[in-house]
């Protein structure tokens, strides 16, 4: 017998209560999902009442409902952006044809792979973040972490909905497998490497939500162009939630920087040792974290030359970022794009067919967006009157995917020898000492309105609540 009240427990705009087949599939999956949440969701938080934003519909009034809820009772809804009547495919070989409402047989395997890969990242980041609640710098931040977690959970639902609804038995099996893989597990890891890395501390978490969730934005934007209409509409709605995750990252790192520069001015020093003694994270350490997370994240876009990318585009499965706004033929045949590789100890640009370089095109769009946010962090430093700038490293720095994998490139884009790399790597990437220092700052602060000493309070609270609002009630 069904234990789920479909209209109430799972707010949706996909007529769930009338779709018996889908209901049966979800009924099997849902208890396993809840078990997964109990085992791998935020540690020790099952009974907390958290001030969460819940979507109950896709219109502007319905998608941001705030209230205290226990996370397992959060209503992981299934939402697709409203359908566009007569939507046409607007790129690739099928340009101008009607968008697909069902999965064309010939694209079934590729679409499933795209959806599974996207779906796999969602529970993975919950797993990566499951211990962070134990070291939160404030109740405000704890709430933001949990909000990110439940929305990752909802995004998993969104992908599982597509798998169940459109991929039959294969889809159900993939849905199960999403709950079986574990981030960082040797035997059954998550699909993408960045999602097997640890997120051991809050600086990593903020960097992750800034850089890696921004990768999510670009992947979702590219999928929101898809000819497979249900995927396009699902990912479009996911984007509205992804925005909050990037906000957590951008404002989080910004507040760490704010606290650091305040202390630099107070102590009149830029000596990392003195700043560490004062309990804040020095700017060079922040730069090294930035270098690490940026380089690991841009690997997520895949190899710089990829025939899969060409196929996904030509067949209409995955578009470019803001495909609809671009002024070209949207077929890209015969066009070229520059990608980097190392020839004779030098970085050189190589012209390749545009279709094969679409991963690189998306990566470059992402880089431009990332740089903008880093410039906003620099404004905080600038406003404090400190002549230091954070920099996004060169895109060839510390890469493990594509033609640059293994090349030894400095953050400013110089090819260096293995010996020089070994000597300098500790200036460029977080060292075990850096990580140990940051870890030493991680203590749990949960009193309303109080903040750990290494981070500044936010400018404003969530949903215009005061900063000292009781965002989490510990029961």
């Amino acid at each position: 017998m069904s234990t789920i009240n479909y209209s109430d427990k799972i707010p949706n705009n996909v007529n769930l209560s009338e779709d018996r087949t889908l209901q049966r599939a979800l009924e099997q999956w849902q208890p396993n999902y809840l078990n997964w949440w109990q085992d791998m969701g935020p540690e020790g938080s099952v009974d907390y009442d958290v001030y969460l934003r819940t979507a109950i519909s896709v219109d502007p009034q319905g998608w941001a409902q705030f209230g205290h809820v226990k996370m397992p009772d959060y209503r992981w809804g299934i939402f697709l952006n409203p359908a566009e009547a007569e939507r046409k495919i607007h790129f690739g070989d099928h340009l101008g044809e009607a968008a697909w409402q069902d999965v064309p047989g010939e694209h079934r395997a590729n679409l499933r792979r795209i959806i599974v890969t996207q779906g796999d990242t969602e529970p993975a980041s919950v797993e990566q973040q499951r211990h962070l609640g134990l070291t939160c710098p404030s109740q405000y931040d704890l709430r933001n972490l949990f909000q990110v977690n439940v929305e990752e959970g909802r995004h998993l639902w969104a992908m599982v909905y597509l798998l169940h609804k459109y991929f039959g038995r294969d889809g159900r099996e993939e849905g199960e497998a999403l709950l079986e893989r574990r981030s960082g597990n040797q035997d059954n890891p998550r699909i993408l490497q960045a999602f097997n890395e640890k997120t051991p501390d809050w600086l990593s978490f903020f960097m992750f939500t800034y850089f890696t969730d921004r990768d999510g934005k670009f992947q979702l934007c590219a999928l929101a162009e898809s000819s497979f209409d249900p995927l396009a509409r699902t990912t479009k709605f996911m984007l509205t939630e992804e925005a909050h995750h990037m906000f957590v990252g951008e404002s989080g790192v910004g507040r760490v920087i704010q606290r650091t520069v305040d202390m630099m001015n107070q102590l009149k020093t830029d000596d990392p040792a003195k700043l560490r003694a004062a309990g804040v994270i020095d700017l060079p350490t922040i730069q090294r974290y930035l270098n690490f997370h940026f380089s690991v994240t841009i690997d997520l876009f895949g190899a710089d030359e990829s025939s899969n990318a060409a196929t996904f585009y030509s067949t209409g499965l995955k578009g470019r970022f803001e495909e609809g706004k671009r002024q070209d033929d949207h077929r890209l045949k015969g066009q070229t794009y520059q990608v980097l590789n190392v020839v004779d100890g030098k970085l050189v640009e190589k012209e390749v067919p545009m279709l094969n370089a679409l991963n690189e095109v998306l990566r470059d769009d992402y880089i431009k967006d990332s740089v903008g946010g880093v410039e906003r962090w620099n404004r905080i430093i600038d406003k404090a009157g400190i002549p230091v700038k954070l920099k996004v490293p060169h895109k060839a720095f510390h890469r493990s995917i594509g033609s640059l994998a293994g090349a030894k490139i400095s953050p400013d884009g110089q090819v260096v020898s293995q010996a020089e790399w070994d000597a300098k790597a500790k200036e460029w990437l977080p060292t075990p000492e850096d990580r140990a220092y940051v870890a030493s700052l991680m203590g749990r602060v949960v009193e309303p309105g109080k903040f750990a000493g290494w981070i500044a309070p936010p400018v404003m609270g969530i949903n215009r609540q005061p900063v000292d609002f009781e965002y989490v009630r510990f029961n």
Binding site: Y51, P60, Q61, G62, W63, A64, Q65, F66, G67, H68, K217, C221, K236, L239, T240, E242, A243, H244, M246, F247, E250, S251, K368, D369, G372, G373, R376, R379, G449, V459, M460, N463, R464, Q465, P466, D468, F469, E470
Partner: protein
């Protein structure tokens, strides 16, 4: 003459360029370049759809600008910071005539008389636009003006039957609970009504004092049930802001009355600040200082009715502010009311070593509980206290509504229309 409008702008310093606003805007008024997200003043129709989805709050910024010279897209694309609000002089230099700088009136002239939508959600905010002039549908019928200049009798004489201090005596204030008995004279009252007291003697010009109004602090069947008496909460200020001794004419007279003294009373007054009588009605009470008098009256009436088992469904929530615990009238008795009868929230703005807290802070804190009440047609909200609290309280109620994704303009207008939001400030 150039008029002004509130231009919708995005704060580039807080905006994270997540694209949510652009994707949700139904009229494509929002666009971006590599640097900034911006709002096209020519297209924005103030639908506010972009406000709640924004994760940062950067979308909710407004600047008063001449209608003919809004910030252009090119200007906005170049910003690192939001420009400051233009001064009246700068606006005048742009051709805005003096006296027409407040434009919500230009844009929405009905705002003064009706709870009309404020397109910007920004000042000028007129809380009294939401004040109901009608009583709740289930209120008892009130008698008014039985005594006064236009009545058959100019006043009725009442006898003081009690006068007790209800706060610790401070240096700057002194608050009393005064009981008046009308003997055999008719003086029917309801909770929320007020009476007039005529201080004896004459003013500096030799004219008799005009009556001063005080809210009744007792329920309809008397401070002492079954007797023809009422009570008042009277605060006298002992010092002005400079520390000089001051004595108000009426409150000082009343605080010094002894049992057995008589006073001249007019009234009763008030036909809308009345409590609902139906058994499932909820009452939200927001007050400061002696603004607690009508709240005490309503609470006591409910308490008496509850003893008879008549009000099981109705909730009572009280938000009570004072400078310190010591200045809060009835602090002790309030503490002893059962928690399942009334949900009491205190705000103290001058407790040493504590952050200042006001009733509007409490309202926001209790948003989770207030939001469902605001949507419930059985809820009646009363605000009583200093004039300055009015705006903060109504703005907080608006925030509570918006926080729950409710349309405040609709709710506020309905509260007014249905006699469910009452503001009485002085």
């Amino acid at each position: 003459m150039t008029t002004t409008f509130k231009q919708h702008l995005i704060d580039p310093e807080i905006c994270i360029r997540c694209n949510t606003c652009e994707s949700i805007c139904p009229v494509q008024a929002i666009t971006h370049e590599s640097r900034n997200y911006v709002v096209d003043a020519a297209k924005c129709n103030f639908c506010m759809d972009c406000i709640s989805p924004c994760p940062t709050g950067s979308i909710d910024n407004w600047r008063l600008m001449p209608q003919t010279q809004p910030y252009t897209l090119a200007e906005q694309f170049g910003w690192d910071d939001l420009p400051a609000e233009k001064t009246p002089e700068q606006l005048a230099a742009m051709g805005v005539a003096e006296g027409v700088t407040v434009t919500a009136d230009d844009a929405a002239p009905q705002a003064q008389t009706d709870a009309a939508p404020d397109p910007t959600g920004q000042a000028p905010f007129n809380p009294s636009a939401y004040n109901a002039t009608l009583p709740p549908w289930s209120a008892a019928h009130a008698y008014t003006n039985l005594y006064g200049p236009r009545a058959a009798e100019a006043f009725v004489t009442a006898t003081v039957v009690g006068n007790v201090r209800v706060t610790e005596v401070g240096t700057e204030y002194d608050t009393h609970h005064l009981m008046l008995d009308f003997g055999a004279m008719p003086f029917p009252v309801l909770e929320g009504q007020s009476i007039g007291i005529i201080p004896p003697g004459a003013d500096a010009q030799g004219r008799p004092h005009h009556p001063r109004q005080y809210s009744i602090a007792s329920p309809r069947n008397g401070e002492r049930p079954g007797y023809n008496n009422i009570s008042l909460t009277i605060k006298r200020v002992l010092q002005d802001h400079q520390g000089n001794a001051v004595r108000g004419v009426a409150s000082n007279y009343l605080c010094d009355l002894k049992v057995g003294d008589t006073v001249q009373v007019t009234g009763p007054f008030g036909t809308s600040f009345l409590m609902p009588n139906h058994p499932r009605s909820h009452i939200v009470m927001i007050c400061t200082g002696t603004g607690s008098a009508p709240m005490r009256a309503m609470t006591e009436w409910r308490r008496r009715l509850r003893k008879s088992g008549k009000f099981e469904g109705g909730k009572l929530m009280l938000f009570f502010g004072a400078r310190t615990k010591e200045e809060l009238p009835y602090f002790g008795p309030l503490q002893s009311l059962p928690k399942d009868f009334i949900d009491i929230n205190f705000a103290f703005s001058r407790t040493p070593d504590q952050p200042r807290k006001y009733v509007q802070d409490l309202l926001r804190e209790r948003a989770a509980d207030l939001a469902p009440l605001l949507q419930d047609g059985n809820t009646h909200t009363y605000v009583c206290g200093l004039k300055s609290m009015e705006e903060g309280v109504v703005l907080a109620l608006r925030d509570v509504a918006r926080g729950a994704a409710l349309n405040w303009d609709e709710i506020g207008a309905r509260l007014k229309r249905e006699g469910r939001l009452h503001l009485e400030t002085y």
